[in-house]
Symmetry: none
Subunit: 409 residues, 2 copies
C-alpha cells in the first residue's frame, strides 16, 4: 500500500471499513446572474442536501490551483486525489477515453482535427468548416481503411468523435517520447512535422511513425471538398497512474453516463459499471444494484455542467433538484460517508468551466456538524473543511469511513 | 539562522522581541455526543478563553494532513513547525526522551515491553499483566546488570519507564538501518526476530546486535513469574532535528508533566523545566517562576486527552474549565502572544485521537480581532486564520511577537 498520493502515504489504509459515495455534479459551482442574486445551487430547492450539510461538514474545494479553470480530466484526477500538476494526461488519451476506446498501456493516442488546406498545404480552415458528425464518421472509416497497414508492425485505429474531431491510436511496442503537434494553430500556415522533445529512441521512432501516418492520411483525403487535410494534437500514452483501488484498499466503481468520465475513472483503476438509461435515477438504480460489490462509488452527473455551458441557469437548477430528490435513496443504503461536490464550477452566467471554488459537503456519522445549515457556495465558506484542495477529499473520506490507521505513535 | 522550516526561512528572526506562550490542551477538539449537541469545548464555561478569542484571532488547525489522525509525537512536531511527514521520529526515541534519557547521535533506542510467555516462547500477555512500576524498576536493573557487557564495543542502557514499559539504548559506532519490531502484536504467537529493511551494512549489523541482546535479556528474566519475556518496538536513532531555539532565536522551555511531551520538546532543543506537582496550576506556577529566563514556553495539559480517550466527556469539559480559570495568571505575566490550541482532536465520543481540525486562538496586542466571539470548534471556523496547517503557527506567533523582519525589500 505504500503508494504516494499528493498529501499522504496511504500505507496505513484499512482493508475494511465503511462504504464511501462520491457524488459529483459536474460544474456544480455557479454565480448569481445579477448582483444580489443567488447561484444555481442556492436557487435550487434542496431539502435533502441542506439537511446533509447541516448534519455534516462542509467547505469549498479548489480543483487544481486557486484561479485555475480546469478541464474535466484534471478536475476528476484531483477528486480522485491525483494532483493534476504532477499527473498529466495527454489530450489524445482523454479524447480516446471520451469515446470509450479502451487504451492499452502500449497505445499512443492523438486528437485529430480535420482541416481545409490550400493546394500548397497551407491551412485555410482548422476545423474543415465544422463538417457534420456523419461526414466525420465517413472520413474516419476512409482513413481507417487506407492507413491500417501503413505502419508495419503496428495497429492503427481511426475513430470518429464529432464534427471535425477524430481519434488516432497507434498500438505496438516501443512508442513514447514527448511529441509536438502538427497544428500551426493559425490559418495561413502549413502544418508542422511532429518532432520529439524527449531525446529518447522511443520518441524519435514515434515521431517518424506519426509523420508517416500523417502523410498517407493527408494523401487519402486530398480529394475531399472540405476535409482535405488534418492535424494531430496531444499525442500521448496512458500515463500509468498509481492504482486507486490499491492506494486506498477499496473496491472502486464508477457510475457515469458519458464515456469521458468512465474513461478517467478507468485510468486510475476503477471499474466502470454498465447500466441502462441516462438519467440520474438510472445511476442510482445502478448504485443500488451494485451496492454489495464495491466499497467506493464515484457517481457522475453530467447535465449540471452541460446546461450551464449552454447558459441555461434554470435547467441547471432543475437538474440539481432532481439529484436532491434522489439523496434519500443513497442514504437508505447506509453509507458511512457521502461526499457531494463538483469537479469544478460552471456558472451558467459564464457559459464555461470556471476557477471558482466548489461547494462541497461530507456527510457521515463521524463528521463534525459545523455551523453550515444549507448547501450552497456562500454557506460552505463557513464550513469546517475550509477552502481546501480537492486532492485532500479522499484522505478525509477514508478517515470518516474508519479506514485509516493512526499516523505515528 | 538560515535553517529551513516547513513554511518559512527563519533567517530573519529577531534575537529580541516579545514572549510567546504556546498552551496545548492535548486532544482539545471534540464532537457533540448527539445530533444538535455541543462539543466538549463548546460545553465548557470558559469566560477567559472566550474573551481571548474575541480579542484575538482564531482558526482551525490541521495537525498533519486533512483526514489524518496523528499520534502525539507527529502532532507536537507540527506545532513546533516541523512537518512530521518530513521529520519522522521513532517510538524508541520518543520513549527515551520521555524519561529524560539524553540520547547522543550514535544511540539506537527502542521501546521495550515486558511480556509473559509460555514455556515455548509464545506470548500470552503482551504487557506482563501490567506489572507495577516498582517491578519494572527492579527488572530493568536486573537486565542492565546482566546485559551491559553482552555487546562488546557497545554500551547498553536499560531504563525503566512505568508498568511494563522500559527503554533500551545501545550506544556505539555504526548503528542504523530500518529495523523491524519483535512484538507479534497479538498473543498466541512467538516474538519475531529483528530484521533490517534498509539493506545497509549498519542495518544488518544493528539487527544482529539487537537480536543478540534480546536473546540474553530473555534468558536473564526467564525465571520471573510474570515478566519472563520482552519485546522491542520502534527501534530508531535521534533524527537530528534542526534546533528550535536556533531557528527562531528563542530561549525555549517546555512545561509538561508527562515524559513523552518533555521528550518531544527536548528533541527539538527546548529545555524541559522540572517542577513539583502534576496539575495545571502547578504548571502555571512553573511558568511564573521561570518567566524571566525564557522567551518561549510550551505548556502541555494532558488530562483533556486522557479523559476523552476514556470517553469521559464531562471530565474533559471540567479540565478545560480548570485551564480557563488559570488564563488570567498567564495574561498577568504580560506575554506578547498566547496561543491556545490542541495537538489534535480527541472527541470523547470516539474515545480516540481523531483527524478533525483543532480550534485555535492566537491572542496578543498585534492580533486581528476577527468576528469570532467564543472559543469553540464551530466558532473558530469563521476565524481569520482559516483552516491552517499546524506548522504555520510558529511563524504566526513570531510575527505577532514582533520577532520577524520583513521578507524582501
Amino acid at each position: 500500500m505504500a503508494v504516494f498520493t499528493e498529501h499522504f502515504l496511504m500505507q496505513d489504509a484499512h482493508q475494511n471499513g465503511g462504504k464511501i459515495v462520491l457524488l459529483v455534479m459536474d460544474g456544480l459551482g455557479g454565480l448569481p446572474l445579477e448582483a444580489g442574486g443567488k447561484t444555481e445551487l442556492e436557487t435550487a430547492h434542496t431539502p435533502n442536501l441542506d439537511r446533509m450539510a447541516a448534519e455534516g461538514t462542509t467547505g469549498l474545494s479548489i480543483p487544481v490551483r486557486a484561479g485555475i479553470e480546469p478541464g474535466s480530466g484534471p478536475a476528476h484526477l484531483s477528486l480522485f486525489s491525483y494532483d493534476p500538476i504532477k499527473f498529466e494526461i495527454g489530450r489524445g488519451v482523454l479524447e480516446a477515453m471520451g469515446i470509450g476506446f479502451e487504451l492499452s498501456p502500449n497505445d499512443l493516442a492523438a486528437r485529430g482535427n480535420f482541416a481545409t488546406a490550400a493546394p500548397d498545404g497551407t491551412i485555410t480552415d482548422r476545423r474543415a468548416g465544422r463538417i457534420s458528425t456523419e461526414e466525420c464518421i465517413r472520413l474516419a472509416a476512409k482513413l481507417q481503411a487506407a492507413t491500417k497497414d501503413v505502419l508495419p508492425g503496428y495497429e492503427v485505429f481511426v475513430q470518429p468523435v464529432e464534427e471535425h474531431r477524430f481519434v488516432l491510436v497507434i498500438r505496438g511496442e516501443g512508442l513514447g517520447g514527448e511529441l509536438t503537434e502538427t497544428d500551426p494553430l493559425v490559418t495561413g500556415k502549413k502544418p508542422l512535422a511532429v518532432t520529439d522533445q524527449s531525446g529518447t529512441p522511443e520518441g524519435a521512432h514515434s515521431a517518424e511513425l506519426v509523420n508517416r501516418w500523417v502523410e498517407k492520411a493527408r494523401a487519402t483525403i486530398a480529394d475531399e471538398p472540405k476535409a482535405n487535410s488534418l492535424n494531430l494534437r496531444g499525442l500521448a500514452k496512458d500515463p500509468g497512474l498509481p492504482s486507486f483501488p490499491e492506494i486506498y484498499g477499496l473496491r472502486a466503481a464508477a457510475i457515469a453516463v458519458y464515456p469521458m468520465y468512465k474513461g478517467v475513472a478507468r485510468l486510475v483503476g476503477m471499474e466502470a459499471i454498465e447500466f441502462e438509461g441516462e438519467r440520474p435515477n438510472h445511476e442510482i438504480d445502478a448504485l443500488e444494484q451494485n451496492w454489495n460489490n464495491y466499497d467506493f462509488f464515484f457517481i457522475h452527473i453530467k447535465k449540471t455542467d452541460s446546461y450551464a455551458e449552454d447558459g441555461k441557469f434554470d435547467a441547471k437548477v432543475h437538474e440539481i433538484e432532481v439529484v436532491d430528490e434522489l439523496m434519500p435513496r443513497i442514504l437508505a443504503l447506509k453509507p458511512d460517508v457521502v461526499i457531494v461536490t463538483g469537479d469544478h464550477s460552471t456558472p451558467a452566467k459564464l457559459r464555461s468551466h470556471s476557477w471558482h471554488p466548489v461547494p462541497t459537503l461530507l456527510w457521515g456519522p463521524r463528521a463534525m456538524p459545523d455551523q453550515v445549515q444549507t448547501f450552497g457556495e456562500r454557506a460552505c465558506a463557513s464550513g469546517h473543511m475550509g477552502v481546501f484542495h480537492a486532492t485532500t477529499l479522499m484522505p478525509q473520506a477514508m478517515a470518516h469511513a474508519g479506514r485509516l490507521k493512526r499516523f505515528g505513535a
